[in-house]
Subunit: 209 residues, 2 copies
């Protein structure tokens, strides 16, 4: 597939909304690689956190809130060694996502991928969410989480996601302006959402107008 046909979909999602499954099935139907947190983490680890890679990623990430903060604190001037392990890992993932996007069409779930690939014409960012009752139902029925734990786990996970997103991007997680499509998965079957998104990728513009 030539670069002109490149279509990258990022999926950001609330815990229990089925977002990861939607992403996985979408990648299967589009016949493109699928990258979730596990895979992105592994690739970032295997890249070895090389200084050159982190410095390169740091320059690309310079508009993010984290690096405004790091600059204000003077840490970026001291070089990548002075960043915390978390911050270096975020940079490694940032770089991983950029390199994945360079390679071709794919589906990426989470890890602030919508922010990393913001403004890239070949990328479309989708947000999957649901009402609490639907997310708890999925957590109990699909993930096997006990009901009395599901609500707390759901809230803690999404709170952590929102904080992680805000810290690394300076934006508000879930806000419609970050995405080109947001879907409540509580009223529609997973496979039907996947088919809708496949349809969307056929008619949406993925290049500079």
């Amino acid at each position: 597939m030539g670069n002109n046909d490149k279509k990258i979909i990022t999926i950001s999602r609330e815990f229990g909304s089925g977002g990861r499954l939607i992403g996985k099935r979408l990648a299967e139907k589009l016949d493109v690689p699928f990258y979730d947190k596990q895979l992105l983490d592994r690739i970032a680890e295997e890249s070895g956190f090389s200084k050159e890679m982190i410095k390169g990623a740091e320059m690309k990430a310079k508009n993010s809130f984290l690096y405004s903060l790091a600059s204000a604190m003077g840490t970026s001037e001291n070089g990548p060694e002075s960043l915390s392990l978390n911050e270096r890992f975020f940079l490694a993932q940032f770089d991983t996502i950029r390199r994945i996007a360079d390679e071709g069409s794919c589906v990426i779930v989470g890890r602030c991928s919508d922010y990393v690939l913001r403004g890239l014409p070949e990328a479309s960012h989708i947000f999957i969410y649901a009402e609490e009752k639907d997310k708890i139902k999925r957590a109990v029925q699909e993930y096997g989480i006990p009901e009395d734990e599901a609500r707390k786990l759901m809230r803690d996970t999404d709170k952590a996601r929102a904080n992680y997103y805000a810290y690394h991007t300076g934006r508000k997680w879930g806000e419609h302006v970050n995405y080109s499509l947001s879907i409540d998965s509580g009223y529609i079957e997973i496979e039907d959402i996947v088919d809708l998104i496949v349809q969307y990728t056929k008619v949406r513009r993925f290049s500079q107008a």
Copy 2:
């Protein structure tokens, strides 16, 4: 069409996003009545602001912020005559939208219709938005608004919409939780958005699960 097949779509939209046109074309394709601001205003006016109607609507609207405010100020205890003309008109529209929803399937644009019909299983609420450049382009090319005026008109209109919505509903206009689908219309043709929504209405659940 029996009541079990009733499907109501409300469209909330940013100025210049094409939301009204999407609603109109959607109603045509679904072969259902289409209600926009003009029509809703006329129906509300023709209803004559009867005291009985306003009182009935007032009771249904009792959860809205407006009526918490009115109650706190003591105005609702004095009866509908003590409400301002704007408040009475909102109540007339509230009642109009409820009655339209009782009648059958339809598409309704704006007027806080998503809030009025919140929780109604037969209703699905959609938000249409776009980036500023796309909205200005539409305002200039489709609405014939001079470019130097388009930006200000766009911002003023959406600011008024957001304030109207907040005042009458206590919620934040545009927030994903208010809707089951949000679409950026800047990357996709109007007819393709309409077809996507038609597809959505075929697979989305419109009844109590």
